[in-house]
Each structure stands twice: as structure tokens, then as C-alpha cells.
């Protein structure tokens, strides 16, 4: 259905289901595409959509959320703000979807960027400072534990990043993911990383780290599991990872994948430090 453009009449027939979010995924995509491209009036969508906004209020028992939820949200937003300021400087934010690796052309663009040691140190300092201090609502023991675990992992990354010839990596979430972090690639090609906001693994699931060099296939370099606090701290085996190599983290159904089977949740590119 998403292959053939939808007619205006077909779209109108699906208007009520669309505004309620009750269409099949293919139908919903087709309607969205139709609304983007069709010049005719779509008043009925707005008329019906306006009603949906009131459905929640019409028949809802009001329940107060637990007080701790506010702390969780504010702590997560504070961490997000820290990561945002850490990402404010180059390297460029990779634009990688959960299913596609970047094209060679995109890799060339990204690998043209360099950063200096001072800028990198300041960005790390910002992350650490905000997590340690300005994560101003991190009061619960569990959250404090997670913040400490992340801080310890960040300290390992800083230590590795200080070695001569190492590269630095900002890991940013792919679309619809939140997992982010920082990493250093040691001169032997091993990756030391600190990540947060990773959905916990369950059963045999693991996260796998991959190194991608140029047009070559992704090379698995190590896997790790994540608990309920969402923190991932890992050091991979040595690999060929010259400056510009892409580090990707995917969620796999089990260990031992030789090519990514699950979604890529976070990526970053290795940037050599200027001496």
C-alpha cells in the first residue's frame, strides 16, 4: 500500500482511523505521505482530530503519578542537557538511522572534522560536572549509584583518551533511541566507552560494539549487557580502527553476531587528537 500513492478518497476514508492512531502502519505511512503531497483540502482530518484531543478528558479516572517520577524525568533532562552541550562542538552529529549505516560520502564528510585536546577535555568536564553536581535532582540511591557508575566509566575513557595517539568518539543516539556516551580508541584499536540511557538487556540479549572502516563490513569487537540503570561501560578487543572509523553499538538477540542483526542504537566517529 505504501508503494502506490493513495488517492484523496482513500485518504479521507482513513481520516478517522488516522487521527485516532488506529491504522495499520502501512496505512498510516501512506496517509502521512498523502497529506504531505496532496493539494486538496483535508478539513475532515482537522475536524475529527480536534475531537480526539478531548477523548482523554471525557472518561478518565485521574491518578497522580509517584513523586519520584518527577526526579527521574528531571535527572534525565539534566543529563540530556549535559550531553547536548558536549555535542555542541564538532565532530558532526552522525545522521544514522536504526537500519542504515552511513554512506561512504557521509563518512568522508565526518572524518574531515577534527577537534583539539582542550575542547575535548572541556566537553568531558561538562559531562562529569553536570552528572556529579548539577544532576540536581539525583537524590535516589539507585540514581546516585548509576551516576557514580557512569562517572567511573567516564574516568576510564578520559584516562584512555590521554594516551598519545588515541582517538576520541562522541556516541550519539540513532533515531528513536536515547543511548549516548563517549569513548576513546586506544592506539591498539581497543575502544573504551561509557554509555547511558541504554534500554536494559533481557535474557540472552547483548549489546555489540562494531568498528566500521571505510566501505568494509562492520567488525564485531565486543559485547556487553546492561542492567536497569541503563549504564554501559565496556572495553573492546583491539581492532583496526584508524581515524575516521565509525563505532556503532547495536542491540543483538544473543552474543556472537558476525553482522548486526538488531537495531543500531548509537554511533560515533573516531577523531584523532592534534598533538
Amino acid at each position: 500500500m505504501s508503494e502506490t500513492p493513495m488517492t484523496h478518497e482513500q485518504a479521507l476514508d482513513l481520516a478517522a482511523g488516522f487521527v485516532l492512531g488506529a491504522l495499520e502502519p502501512a496505512e498510516e505511512s501512506a496517509v502521512r505521505e498523502h497529506l504531505r503531497t496532496c493539494p486538496e483540502s483535508h478539513d475532515e482530518f482537522a475536524e475529527l482530530g480536534g475531537v480526539v484531543a478531548y477523548l482523554a478528558e471525557a472518561d478518565l479516572e485521574l491518578v497522580e503519578p509517584p513523586a519520584a517520577l518527577r526526579d527521574r524525568i528531571m535527572a534525565a533532562a539534566a543529563a540530556d542537557l549535559a550531553a547536548r552541550s558536549a555535542e555542541a562542538a564538532p565532530p558532526a552529529r552522525p545522521d544514522v538511522t536504526a537500519v542504515a549505516f552511513p554512506t561512504p560520502a557521509e563518512r568522508e564528510i565526518r572524518t574531515g572534522r577534527r577537534t583539539d585536546r582542550l575542547g575535548w577535555a572541556m566537553r568531558i568536564a561538562a559531562v562529569v560536572a553536570i552528572l556529579a553536581l548539577a544532576g540536581w535532582n539525583i537524590l535516589l540511591q539507585a540514581q546516585l549509584g548509576a551516576a557514580r557508575q557512569y562517572e567511573t566509566a567516564v574516568a576510564s575513557v578520559i584516562s584512555a583518551a590521554g594516551e598519545a595517539g588515541s582517538q576520541t568518539v562522541i556516541l550519539t543516539p540513532t533515531e528513536n533511541n536515547r543511548a549516548a556516551g563517549i569513548a576513546a580508541i586506544r592506539p591498539d584499536g581497543s575502544v573504551v566507552a561509557a554509555m547511558r540511557d541504554l534500554p536494559p538487556t533481557a535474557g540472552s540479549e547483548v549489546y555489540e560494539a562494531w568498528v566500521i572502516v571505510g566501505d568494509a563490513a562492520p567488525v564485531p569487537v565486543g559485547d556487553f549487557t546492561v542492567g536497569s540503570n541503563g549504564i554501559g561501560a565496556f572495553t573492546t578487543s583491539p581492532a583496526n580502527a584508524p581515524p575516521g572509523a565509525i563505532i556503532a553499538v547495536s542491540r543483538e538477540p544473543g552474543p556472537g553476531s558476525t553482522a548486526p542483526r538488531g537495531p543500531i542504537v548509537s554511533t560515533g566517529v573516531g577523531v584523532a587528537q592534534e598533538s
Binding site: L23, E44, A53, R70
Partner: protein, 199 residues
Amino acid sequence: VASVADDADRAVLALVANGQLDALQELYDKYRTMAYSIALRITADASLAEDVVQDAFLGAWRNAARYVEGKGSVKTWLLSIVHHRAVDAVRRRRPTSELPEREETPPASLTLPDIWQEVAGNLEREEIATALATLSDVQREAIELAYFGGLTQQEIAAQTGAPLGTVKSRIRLGLLAMRSALVGDRGSPSGTPAGDGSP
């Protein structure tokens, strides 16, 4: 004409877009009960509902700049994010369901007509409940299975045993009837809000 409450919300959202944590907390405190209640009703799972609300407010935090003035109130925008995330969470628990690509903002053409902005600030919960009560039982069942149950029209047809075409018209006519009850003569629905959509 947007209400004063809407203007205040827009001012707060502009601060959220600017990365002000205290503005996010203000927005959260204002809408947390509605947001959590919707999430809880849809997921029927307190822990999952908390995750949904957290996810939704972080989505709003990151995408506040994408809210476009004149396309519905901040409240509508925020609660629709909560609704989408809750439905996604419920569908994710059903192993056979695919998830659609969600967007934080509706397509440009999906703007709310002025009539909605005009009535938005003036409706009381009782009025809204009365409007919902004007629907026939089968219309209300279909709409609630979609909105609170997270079911697609096809799934509703399978669950209720009604033909898909019947489910579609129950939902459409039910929404139009509710619109008519809410707005009265001030709007001109493009359909006839009568009947229950039975063949």
C-alpha cells in the same frame, strides 16, 4: 482566538525549547496527572505508564522547538505525544505488531480550525463527558478500543466480530457526533452525526 491558558503554556514551552529545566518542571507539574492517567489507562501497568510519561516528557523536552504555534494547544500536543508513546508501548508488548514511524508533530495540513481553539479553553470535563455520552454504545466501544486500547481498526473488527467497514463508520460517525455535541452549531461537520454505523 487562543485562550490565555494556551498563551501561558506557549511561553513555558518556548523556555523548554531554550533548554530551561525549571520550565520543563513547570510543564510537568501542570500536566503530569493527565499524562500519567492517560498512560495508565492505556497500558494498565503502573511501571510502564511511568516509563511512557518519562519518555513523552523527554520527547517534549527535545522537540519543544518543533511545536508550531497555531496548530493546536500545547496541552493537545503534549497529551498526543503521551498517547502515541503509550499506544506504542502497548503494541510493543504484542509480539506480532509492527510499529509505525511516529512523528512529534502532525503534518502541516493537519491544523486545528479556529473553532477548536475558541472552545478549547471553555469546555468543562462534564460537558466533554456529556458529549461522549451522546454516542451509541457501539460507537463508544470502537472509539475507546482505539484510543485507550491501542487497537487498530482491523484489530477492533477482529475483536468485536464486526466487519471492518462497520468499525470504520462507527469510529467516524462517533467522532462527528461528539464534535457536534461539543461545538454545537458553531462548526459545520462534513458528515451526518447520526446512526451507529451499523450496516
